[in-house]
């Protein structure tokens, strides 16, 4: 099978560095713009929830961070698998970059969830709630991945060993998710991903989806930024990087 040229180019650090540099302002603008519009719409225009009042407006932030956190783990695992199978260093760089971002988003989901829980459930933290526990375990998976990497001095070995952990982790994520769902819960049921009508009015659905896509684009923006930093870190002392730096300083 003959692979197209762009596929081979994705294995080249200078090319990906420049491509990421060219793409990231666009992603940043689109992501931040979508979030800004969505948040404004959600906080000012959308009606308050009939049951929870204005406290429910955190729905334009909280589920998004949780989705993006999970998405980050999938991105990490796919990139790690590609890097492990085809020995693509850049794929490993993507996986490494995704881990701290995913951990941060998962932490954000836990924090915003507690803030939401305080007025509506009457508690910041509920140990028996499945989704809190799932997010917490997901955070531990991210931290475990990062801790394993940090334990290795040789980067190549760290890449390949942590890739195995990432793939095993992503097989376990659905298992953990469903095992944790065994408890009965305070958490409200799914609002969007239902097969019948979504239980949200259009006024609330639009800003919800805007911030959802906004946060996803925002995630990829951060990913590209970290990826560029990671590439610079990995390619220290190479010619193209030295040329790039001297060009930039002129």
């Amino acid at each position: 099978m003959k692979l197209p040229r762009w596929f081979h180019l994705l294995g080249s650090s200078p090319y990906v560095y420049r491509l990421a540099g060219r793409l990231s302002p666009w992603l940043g603008a689109v992501g931040c713009g979508l979030i800004a519009v969505g948040v404004f719409w959600g906080l000012v225009i959308a009606p308050p929830d009939y049951l929870q009042g204005d406290a429910s407006r955190i729905i334009y932030i909280h589920p998004q961070t949780a989705y993006v956190g999970m998405q980050a783990y999938v991105v990490l695992a796919i990139a790690a698998a590609i890097g492990f199978i085809w020995r693509l260093k850049l794929a490993h760089a993507v996986a490494v970059s995704a881990a701290p971002i995913g951990a941060s988003f998962t932490l954000c989901a836990l924090v915003t969830g507690s803030i939401w829980g305080a007025p509506t459930w009457g508690t910041f933290w509920e140990w028996t709630d499945p989704r809190i526990m799932f997010e917490l375990l997901l955070l531990f998976l991210f931290l475990g991945y990062m801790a394993l990497r940090a334990a290795f001095e040789d980067r190549d070995k760290a890449d390949r060993v942590s890739a195995i952990l990432g793939v095993v982790g992503v097989v376990n994520v659905p298992i953990i998710h469903y095992s944790v769902l065994w408890w009965n819960t305070l958490h409200q049921g799914p609002t969007i991903m239902k097969f019948d009508e979504p239980s949200m009015t259009t006024d609330m659905l639009i800003p919800f989806l805007l911030t959802m896509f906004g946060f996803m684009v925002f995630f990829y923006w951060l990913l590209l930024k970290r990826l560029r930093a990671e590439i610079v870190d990995r390619e220290q002392g190479t010619r193209w990087l030295r040329e790039l730096v001297t060009e930039g300083s002129q």
């Binding site: 334990a151 195995i164 952990l165 793939v167 095993v168 095992s179």
Partner: protein, 221 residues
């Protein structure tokens, strides 16, 4: 199959020659379970309600203690390298090593837990379910522990990282295991969580050795 038996025999012989390493996790299990009543000073009723959780967590933690013996000695004296280089499929070799580890550390634990469970006033009827759940859960625990040991085999001191890697992955076992035991304590049907434990064991035993083998290969490079 032949290579499986050879490695299994060798590892079992080595394991039963090092008595102290076998006994340490069991002693650790008993001490941890003894600490809970000391710290909580519960009544018999309270002890019965928290007992299943304590037993399962202590079993999980004590199985972490035995992981250093899995690959460390073999990696240090070079025999692990030979096993990787040998014509026998690495997955089979790994499966044999994990089976030996399970027989040497998992099975004694399964024997010990019901005794401690009785001291927590768990009803005698629930003990069969507890043992069945442990028999189904310990192979998965052994596979996960072996994975942690394999991922950190080239590190001088992997111990502190391994718990961080393995314990989140063990959470489904803890949930289904305690669920089955709790249902048995209350005299209800326990088939559901037991089937789930069995399916996790099948998943772990069939796919785990491949991942462990890959991790060992990377680690020994």
């Amino acid at each position: 199959m032949n290579s499986f038996l050879i490695v299994l025999k060798r590892d079992l012989k080595l394991a039963f020659r090092r008595w102290s390493e076998l006994a340490n996790p069991l002693l650790f299990f008993m001490i941890v379970t003894a600490l809970f009543p000391l710290a909580l000073s519960p009544t018999a009723d309270e002890l019965r309600t928290i007992g299943t959780g304590i037993l399962w967590i202590a079993a999980l933690l004590s199985s972490l203690l035995s992981l250093d013996s899995l690959f460390r000695a073999d990696a240090d004296d070079g025999s692990l390298e030979q096993l990787i280089l040998s014509p026998a499929p690495l997955g089979i070799v790994v499966l044999a090593k994990v089976t030996a580890h399970w027989i040497a550390s998992g099975v004694p634990l399964v024997g010990l837990v019901p005794v401690v469970a009785l001291s927590f006033y768990l009803p005698v009827d629930a003990l069969t379910v507890l043992v069945a759940a442990l028999v189904l859960a310990t192979p998965t625990i052994s596979i996960l522990v072996a994975l942690g040991a394999a991922l950190t085999v080239s590190l001088k001191s992997g111990g502190s990282v391994i718990g961080l890697l393995i314990l989140p992955l063990c959470s489904p076992l803890l949930i289904f295991g305690t669920r089955a035991t709790d249902l048995a304590v209350h005299g209800e049907a326990t088939a559901g969580p037991l089937y789930l434990l069995a399916s996790l064991a099948v998943l772990a035993v069939s796919l785990g050795p491949v991942a462990i083998g890959a991790a060992l290969k990377v680690g020994m490079e």
